[in-house]
Every structure is written in C-alpha cells, then in structure tokens.
C-alpha cells in the first residue's frame, strides 16, 4: 500500500469498521513507513479517546425542572382598545359601509371594486378591533409545586 492510498482510505475504514478490525494492510504499512506510522498511531489514539470520552451527568435540579414543565398555558393577546370602544367601532363601521360605497361609486365596475376593497378593509378592521381569542398564543411555564 502506498502512502497516498493509506491516508485517503484509513479514515473511511476507521469510521466504517472501527480500529479493532482494521485490515492488516493498514497496520503493515504503518509499521514500515516513517511518515505514516506516527500519523496512524496518533489517529488511532484520538479515535479511541473520542470513543471513550467520559459522559457527564446533568444536575438533578435540571432534571427536576424538566419534569415539571407544564402544559402550554393559553395567553390571550393584550387588547389595545377598551371593550366599549371596540364594540362601538365594530357596530358602527359596517353600518357606514353602504354610504361610503355610494359616495365613492360612479360606475358599476367601480362600485364592485370599491365594495370589495371596503369589505376587506372592514373585515380587517373588525378583526383588529375585536382581537378574537384565536389570535392569542401558548406560553410555557414550570408547574407549581403540589402541596
């Protein structure tokens, strides 16, 4: 085996089958080559050291905290307007819609377009004003201790 072949194949073989059953040709080349010998020894040493890296234990407090993670808590979005103003806006806006559309309309096509735009606008306005509950989001917390 030549040095080039040795260097290009040895890492693949190491990953594939490990160092214990590495084909003898690799060891034979390493034993007889002044350049590849030290390379091979240190490579095997790093491979074995990595394989036997000590595992660390997570702290008990971390495990306790993880096991106490509660179900998601529903948190509604904060509302910017008071309920009275939101209700008034939601009721008045649709009632004004035909008057606004009539004032703006000149042709049938324009009227249809304006009505569509206004309807979409009012729908968005309604959602923004009312902020229905489905716009809220989940939040996570650690469950309180059970006494």
């Amino acid at each position: 085996m030549k040095c080039e072949e040795f260097r290009s194949r040895v890492q693949d073989e190491l990953d594939r089958i490990g160092d214990e059953i590495l084909p003898a040709e690799f060891r034979e080349h390493a034993d007889t080559c002044a350049q590849c010998g030290p390379f091979f020894e240190s490579l095997i040493a790093v491979h074995r050291a990595l394989r036997h890296l000590p595992r660390v234990s997570p702290p008990a407090e971390l495990i306790t905290a993880l096991s106490k993670l509660d179900k998601p808590v529903y948190v509604p979005m904060k509302l910017s307007w008071s309920p009275d103003i939101r209700l008034a806006a939601a009721m008045v806006a649709p009632a004004l819609l035909p008057y606004i559309a009539q004032a703006l309309s000149f042709t049938l096509l324009q009227q249809i377009l304006e009505m569509s735009i206004l309807s979409l606008g009012m729908a968005l306005f309604g959602i923004a004003a009312l902020k229905p509950s489905f716009l809220g989001g989940p939040e996570y917390r650690v469950a309180p201790e059970k006494t």
Binding site: Q11, D12, D15, Q35, P38, F39, E41, S42, L43, I44, A45, V46, H47, R48, A49, L50, R51, H52, L53, P54, R55, V56, S57, P58, P59, L62, I63, A65, L66, S67, L69, K71, P72, P138, Y140
Partner: protein
C-alpha cells in the same frame, strides 16, 4: 365540545409521554450540549431550551421523521444557535501547524490521551471545532450514530458528514500533538 374528563386524560397522557422523553433523552441531550458548548452552564440552558421546544412541538409532531431524529435536530440547532450567539469560539483552522509534530516517539500517544487532563483537553477542543465538524464528531462518537443517521439530523449528504468527521478528527489530532509537544 370536548369532554373535560377526556381533555384531562389527554393532558395526563401527553405529560406522561413528555416525561418519558425527559427520562430517555435528558442525559444524552445534556452531554451533546456540553461537548458542543464546552461548559456546564451553557449546556444546562441549552438542554432546557431543547426540552421547551420538544414540549411545544410534541403535539404537532407529524411523524415525517423519526422522533429521535426530530429530537436530535432540535438539539443540534439549539446548540449551533447558542454557539453563533456566543461568538467566542476559537476555530481551529487548517493553517494551524499542518506538519506532523509528534516529536517524542518514546511516548505512546494513546497512553497520553488516556490521562484525565488530556481527555478534558480533548473535550474542550471539540467545542472549538467549526459547527459542522463538532456536530458530526459529537453525534458519531458520543451517540454512536452512523453516517446515515447523522445525514438525517444535519440535513447534509453522507459525503459531507464523512468530510466533516475526517477534518474534525484531523484537527483534533494535530492540535493534541501540538499540545503534547509543548508539555
């Protein structure tokens, strides 16, 4: 409308499933985070982040990938995100001492690496490797995964996994050889 009793049962079941995952994966996730981040404090925070994401996403998990692959993807992403935020990594580059530097042939490299301090040093050096190499090394050696499993988690081709592993291991080898010659 959902039966409140059924809802409570679902909640208990979900909680139980989550706690099973905590039991199965907390130690492994913590170890991976520790090797990727290099210190216990960051590893603890990363582990907490990982399980919060698992908790949040468990009910939406659609089974497109294996549950273990999904959990490891979250773990790897959380660790990588923390590493990039920290911006304190010292990347070992190819230009660092490219020559063979084992100058003391009388000393067996394996004996040297079995020393406690050398193993700690090795662990620290993994955290200093570039992201992909550190992830590949940690998954391959700590979790005993093969190329296929690492490919699924890191979403990179098997050839790239092999390259990342080889480069990472080679950098560790060179760096350790340099450290050895200094001592």
């Amino acid at each position: 409308m959902q039966d409140p009793q059924q809802s409570a049962m679902d909640e208990t079941l979900s909680k139980r499933e989550f706690n099973v995952l905590v039991g199965q994966y907390s130690e492994r996730v913590y170890n991976h985070a520790y090797r990727m981040l290099g210190n216990r404090e960051d590893a603890e925070e990363a582990t907490m982040d990982v399980f919060l994401k698992i908790h949040k996403g468990l009910s939406d998990f659609r089974g497109d990938a294996k549950l273990s692959t999904w959990i490891w993807r979250i773990t790897v992403n959380v660790c990588l995100s923390r590493r990039s935020k920290r911006k304190a990594e010292t990347v070992l580059t190819d230009s660092e001492n490219p020559e063979e530097t084992i100058v003391d042939p009388s000393m067996n490299p394996e004996e040297h690496l079995l020393k406690e301090e050398s193993r700690e040093q090795l662990a620290r050096l993994i955290a200093e490797l570039p992201e992909q190499e550190a992830s590949a090394i940690a998954l391959f050696y700590l979790e005993g995964m093969n190329y296929g499993e690492i490919t699924a988690i890191l979403s990179i081709p098997a050839g790239t996994v092999a390259t990342a592993l080889h480069r990472g291991r080679e950098k560790l080898r060179r760096k350790l050889c340099v450290e050895r010659t200094k001592t």
